[in-house]
Symmetry: C2
């Protein structure tokens, strides 16, 4: 089930990938395509491309593949006839759920629920997870403002004209460098890069600075604390400012590690203070664990590291969780039917796969594996940056969720291309970072292969 190393027969992308690209390009924009994949031949941490090149995958399909390629547990769940009906009959889960749905949710999602969050709603992706988290926040906030669960005639009528009070002037506070998706609501809370946002109308929602911390966090505590205080002060100011201009902050949304924004970490204390600030302002505290959730950091949920006094109000997930969704406190449960709704609300077929994934995480102790492997990766990157201080800096990580910086975008992009042609499939994030996002089955010996190729690459840059 494992291969013993990379195997390169052409440049990546090779001639076959290039041919396929031409074909695909006749029907859609392909400028983001890296190469074409032969998923039948791929196995475990090894991604095989259209030309037969075999790469060690530290990107895992934008951090979305939990157990790598063709994991035996997933393959056997797919072969199990008792699961067939979940794949053949996609239901409208909000109105006509399958008989095993309550059990499945209890057994899978409730079993790994973040502490304190008893409620869960499945969705089909991280975007609808976040959009619906925001909606749950607005419902909750308006009910508080109104002092009643029942809408007034004026609200029901004004919302059809997009006017207050029915369409309220409420906002979600996000962070500069934060990323929560690309639909209009998600994009209005995201500030990772201009090309995610430009040309698209946005809501007037505030964005606070995210701490520009120094790494390693635990040796720069003094400086980092000052920087974090500065950002928390700014959050506080924005909350006042937006309240004063009649657009109060109904919710704060934050990633435990800013992922698309360039793997930016802050201290546990920062998040504890932020959670408190949200509470004091009457704003909901939403933690977006779409990229950090499901084990890569060594805990099921990255926010478990924070030692919060009070749990988040809502935690969103997707990617490695196989299905999207949101966990939430009872008080954020929508009142009345059809408030949080869409046709499918997720997909029981994905729950079949999730079951296999959770079983393997448990049985193979993959959270521990991520902690252990993460140490190898991070220590390796630190050693490399000591040796090549002109090229590498800011090695950082939690579990196997790691990153390192290059001097600039161009060098980082060259590094990604060089890595690929030496047999490592990685990717950038932010302006100049390389992100490491392996599957949960990435082991210390894979980490060492990755580090060797990193070293070679760095030397050649």
């Amino acid at each position: 089930y494992d291969y013993d190393g990379p195997h390169l027969v052409t440049q990546v992308p090779g001639p076959r990938s290039k041919m396929l690209l031409e074909s695909l390009d006749s029907i859609q924009n392909t400028e983001a395509v890296q190469f074409f994949c032969d998923f039948k031949k791929s196995r475990g941490n090894w991604l095989v491309d259209a030309d037969g090149n075999r790469l060690l995958d530290v990107y895992s399909q934008i951090a979305s593949l939990p157990l790598g390629y063709n994991h035996p547990a997933i393959v056997s769940a797919l072969a199990d006839e008792s699961n067939l009906s979940a794949f053949a009959n996609r239901p409208a889960l909000g109105v006509l759920p399958p008989v095993d749905f309550p059990d499945t949710l209890q057994k899978l999602l409730s079993r790994v629920a973040p502490p304190g969050l008893s409620q869960v709603q499945t969705m089909a992706c991280g975007t609808c997870a976040n959009e619906n988290a925001f909606k749950a926040v607005f419902f909750w906030y308006r009910a508080k403002q109104r002092g009643s669960l029942i809408h007034t005639e004026e609200e029901l009528e004004s919302c059809m004209r997009h006017e207050a009070p029915g369409s309220p002037n409420l906002s979600i506070l996000g962070f500069k460098g934060g990323f929560h998706g690309r639909t209009i609501g998600c994009s209005s809370s995201s500030h990772a890069a201009p090309l995610h946002k430009v040309d698209v109308p946005a809501l007037d929602w505030p964005s606070a600075p995210f701490p520009a911390t120094k790494y390693p966090l635990d040796v720069n505590t003094q400086e980092n604390r000052q920087e974090e205080e500065r950002c928390l002060d700014k959050v506080f100011q924005l909350m006042q400012e937006y309240k004063n201009k009649g657009r109060p902050v109904a919710g704060v949304v934050v990633e435990p590690i800013q992922s698309e924004g360039g793997d930016r970490h802050a201290s546990n204390n920062f998040f504890r203070q932020l959670r408190k600030l949200a509470k004091e302002n009457g704003s909901a505290f939403v933690v977006d664990e779409v990229q950090t959730g499901a084990g890569l950091t060594g805990k099921m949920w990255a926010h478990e590291y924070w030692g919060l006094e009070e749990s988040p109000d809502i935690v969103t997930f997707s990617k490695k969780m196989v299905i999207g969704g949101l966990y939430f406190k009872e008080e954020f449960r929508p009142k009345g039917p059809f408030r949080i709704m869409n046709t499918w609300l997720g997909d029981p077929a994905k729950l079949v796969i999730m079951e296999a994934v959770l079983n393997v995480i448990h049985k193979d102790r993959l959270l521990d594996n991520m902690t252990e492997t993460g140490q190898v990766i991070l220590q390796g990157l630190e050693k490399l940056q000591d040796k090549h201080a002109d090229i590498l800096s800011n090695a950082r990580g939690r579990g196997a969720f790691c990153a390192v910086d290059f001097p600039d975008t161009l060098t980082r992009d060259r590094a990604v291309a060089t890595l690929r042609n030496k047999g490592v499939q990685g990717a950038g994030c932010g302006v100049k970072s390389l992100r490491v996002r392996p599957a949960l089955i990435f082991q210390p010996h894979h980490a060492r292969m990755f580090l060797d190729i990193m070293e070679e690459t760095t030397r050649e840059l």
Copy 2:
């Protein structure tokens, strides 16, 4: 593969459904749940519930199931080992597509593309299809305004503050009664019901009246034409008004039949005029075929009935298409990488099922079946409303996409419950309509069973 009639052993929902409801209710709001389904026992047009009741399904999971339950072609596609890898390895389609992706798109999506639309982008649902259609419209419109594909420094910088020109004041014109989804962008273009919208911030986007036509359309042509002119005039006025207030209408979005809004039809001529008006105003013309597409109306795309001189600019789809997405003209193709993007961008596993569906549509001539069955349904509803004019009115339909009105919401809701307890699974839409949305395999003899039970129900109300 067919059952020969409904079979009722308990009230619906029965005791087992009620027990399951209680269990599910401990972890999420269940107020919209009708009953629990035993999908393993369901077959074809017959939905079996948790208590063993067997219902003739004219709702098909909110119009989303193309071939009913456990269709042999889908079951055998699932059993085919060569498809396994599509289910086991969900890729990030925008960066690392599988080797067979270009071919699959050509063979499936291009084969049934609406005339004139050469480009297609898959998505995971109707909501992301519409949100991304709007984004493609905004990209196109801003490029026209700017006179260049290249963003200015000012745009790239102002978009991060959510200010023009980077975050432009552009709008999408929707219709009262229209429905395009429930995320913030989709919801801002939708006006079907206050409970879809209230409490959620909205963009200042205009909504025009949709013609309140009289049925049958072809005997009330004179009156309908006047009403349609009135609405088109209003569209024109709103376009001027929004241009004057600095929030021009970049796109118009419309459903061929307003579905959630209560099955509201307009003439082919109305849509032809609307298309022209959009063009003359420099607005994109987006047709939302999420509910009407994929054959239920007797054509693959409902807008094919219109006889347009120029095709729509974008057509969105989901539901019975199995996968979501958007077809579009070459000029709406985004320029540059990562403009239309998310982690998964659809799911090759759904394309496996779609292939089976399209093959069956073709081989079993299901579009013709929908025309033929639709005639039986519509003529039957017309006959019923002649006999029960106090209760039924406004029978209308295109293909098997049919509806009829009851005097008010309460009576309609009682009818839906009565139908259910006589063995028909149907559902309402709008204020007082019953919608008929069977699977594509619904045949004239199923239609006659449905009509018999409708008659019984009507007599008892």
